[in-house]
Subunit: 475 residues, 2 copies
């Protein structure tokens, strides 16, 4: 039976999305326009994301720091492209207490400026390099239209900022962090994203180039989820970040930055969830297994406890729902909250030597015989199967919604039938990008780097193609 | 040999403090007035603090959330005492992009208002209670004089905000969270703090009462490190946070909040460190053991690796310093960074079947025979001994600097000889508190709750005493 609090996904996707967020208690609106409260169920997902990514960053040699929230205006103004890109969307602090400030301070929209300012006074020699810093923090961008997780004025993220002694090393860093984001989406979030390079028009303000991780939502709209930028020496020249190289000569450092945000929670929902609520891939689920005892016979209670202990000892996050609610209510709650596996233990089943195991992703009920059942290995395998199945379903959906366009008419026809990833050759001109934008706001998602163009022509103007590009409409 | 970059503690305590922070690379000043950058060594300590406290909070049933950074002015203004207390020290956002805002927004100095606003729309019945929320975030207070970690315009903290169905339960929560802070200081930070209740004058703006955790720095100056507030129904009435109780009647919720901050890092330094740099209690040290191979003979390298593996497998944070620096340089670096235990492995010692182990706290060098040496249990025991010794030394120092005053003259004499905790009876009047403030800014730290006054008189006015109070000057 459908969850009545949730609009059907096929009926009204936008409403379905906000209904799932509300029903699964992930976030809520606040009295602060454009800013959400992330509730316990949502924040627990963010904590899982943080713990997995942070571990990976540290394995690769990164260390965490914390730079200030506020940026003095003159510091922000030093890199002209960055200012142009961000000035329309920053919030300004102009008063401290009752006193007007001599210089206004912006609430960080991103922290390249502060890291550069710091590096400028802390780097002397090539022996100080590389510096591989990351921070977990909040940032603010004064968006006009907002949507929980996907786009809000304040969001949480990690921003890595690294400096290097050579171009090659910095470019490798830019690439390897995109590999991390790709790995995280594919292996942990079960989201088959596409990675590539942004066009000049779509790259980060001030970057030499931007790599991007693009996910396709269930409705065919694209979501940029993780970017990695190579700055070359642009910022280091603007902020005077120099080092003495091995030849004892002064040189500007080579720089990168890369980030992922709470927006990934929105992506998770839009790729995997259904009309019954949240569906979480086991590897990111804060709670992987819920055990629901039916009735309170000692045998039932003991078995629930035994299973829960065994699973937790094997690092499978599980808990017993022994609250006073009815079993039916508990089933529905576990379902809407996206707990990947539900174990129902009831007296009647036990008499037949069975327990019932329910997969959240398929809602399949499995009656499992307890004869020689090893609960830990059974659940471990099931969680892996669910993870894999969820990835494959998302991949199938992505492939179904990936189209090819060879003309403007193709673009128009496709986008009017159904949004999706649209592969199309491109001559490289901004003119053709702008022409496509006129069609429902189609933008380039990314250039596929390893694709050859051969004799193909630009789908817009018919000139020789320079790149194969994935296009789409975006959140 | 003394670290030349560090001023002697006895010569100039304030300079010594900033020298240690700089030499141990914990934090640095930035171009943003009053705001510091927390560097990797400092942030790693904060991560340890977070992980230990967060685990404890969760064991007690708390969950993490994230409320917005910005508070609309009208929302802040609803609780008059809070506004009065915080208005002089908040930063105001007045522009979003190029547009002046209709209503200015303050950058949160604390989040009671936002939590109340949230709770008001999310609590209906006693079955929803208690709600035990916590958040880890940054806050801003527009301080005039700042000092790294101890007082800066922006700092990081956790703020717990809980609501309950009864006064008793909320008061118990207020107390148990102070017990957590006390436990954390005594057992983890090796800081023998004093806990008690704040006077009316010193309590949190808007609280019914405030419990406080007061630590004494090496120089005898007090540091408030952790407070827990009971609000009763003050905020719930101002923000209309009601629930239906078990008798089916509407009632306002009972509320608490409690917080600890990055200031604890400053406390750690000021209690334990010395003229050679940082000294960290093992239980909070992000790196507990450094292994320094002297020379590169295979035997030395292998043993270093073997020890490091064994220690890390037993959850003792250890690492090998196999960088290209000289052993002397490595010793000095480990020392200034406060690594609790240093293991030196050299070919010559190995010939005598010995290794050298150095305690950071006492700088004692111990030649340890490798005959039947179990490195894990040896280091485990040593770390526990160091933890205990550090606590006991801090306790001895605190006791030496704890005085008793029975008259204004006593207060004057004591504070002019040496600052410290000064125990003195008090009649309970604000007049007497203000009189003491005239003496070098002496303030009440806390009322000792379980002390009886018997026939004792107020040390200021001579009237009957109501409380035994710990007084002192503070950071």
């Amino acid at each position: 039976m459908k969850n009545k609090a949730i609009t059907s996904k096929t009926e009204d996707f936008a409403q379905w999305y906000t209904d799932v967020i509300k029903a699964a208690k992930l976030a809520d609106y606040t009295s602060v326009k454009g800013c959400i409260a992330i509730l316990p169920n949502g924040y627990a997902i963010w904590e899982r994301m943080q713990s997995i990514l942070d571990k990976k960053f540290k394995e690769l040699g990164h260390v965490n720091v914390q730079m200030p929230l506020l940026i003095p205006e003159n510091l922000l103004n030093k890199e002209s492209e960055l200012v142009e890109g961000f000035a329309p969307e920053v919030a300004w602090v102009t008063y401290g207490g009752s006193k007007e400030l001599d210089e206004r301070l912006c609430v960080r929209p991103t922290s390249e400026t502060l890291f550069c300012d710091f590096y400028a006074s802390h780097v002397k020699s090539h022996r100080d390099l590389p510096m591989l810093y990351n921070q977990w923090c909040n940032v603010l961008r004064w968006e006009k239209e907002t949507r929980p997780f996907l786009r809000s004025r304040e969001f949480l993220w990690q921003e890595g900022h690294t400096i290097h002694a050579s171009e090659e090393e910095a470019i490798n860093e830019t690439k390897r962090m995109m590999d991390v984001y790709r790995w995280f989406h594919h292996e942990i979030l079960a989201i088959p994203s596409i990675t590539g390079i942004k066009t000049e028009r779509e790259k980060f303000a001030g970057a030499e180039f931007t790599l991007t991780n693009e996910a396709l939502m269930y409705n065919g709209v694209a979501l940029q989820a993780g970017t990695s930028h190579y700055f070359g020496q642009k910022f280091s020249k603007a902020y005077d970040v120099k080092f003495t190289n091995k030849d004892n000569k002064e040189e500007y450092v080579y720089q990168t930055s890369w980030g992922t945000t709470t927006r990934m929670i929105g992506g998770l929902i839009m790729v995997h969830s259904d009309d019954f609520g949240l569906v979480l891939p086991p590897r990111i689920a804060p709670k992987q297994v819920v055990i629901i005892p039916i009735g309170d016979s000692q045998r039932v209670v003991n078995l629930a406890k035994e299973y829960s202990d065994k699973l937790n000892e094997s690092n499978i996050f599980s808990y017993i729902d022994d609250s006073e609610k009815s079993p039916g209510f508990k089933f529905a709650e576990a379902e809407v909250n996206g707990i990947p596996v539900r174990i129902e233990i009831g007296e009647r089943d036990l008499e037949n030597n069975n327990i019932v195991i329910v997969r959240r992703d398929t809602r399949e009920k499995i009656s499992v015989s307890m004869d020689s059942l090893n609960i830990v290995s059974y659940i471990n395998e099931l969680l892996e199967v669910i993870q894999k199945d969820m990835y494959n379903r998302a991949l199938k959906r992505r492939d179904e919604l990936t189209f090819e366009a060879y003309s403007l008419e193709d673009f128009e026809r496709i986008i009017n039938e159904h949004p999706g990833f649209i592969k199309g050759f491109w001559c490289g001109s901004e003119e053709c990008e702008l022409r496509l934008k006129e069609i429902n706001g189609i933008k380039s998602r990314c250039i596929l780097e390893n694709e050859k163009c051969l004799d193909n022509k630009c789908a817009v103007c018919g000139r020789d193609a320079k790149h194969l590009v994935v296009w789409g409409i975006q959140y």
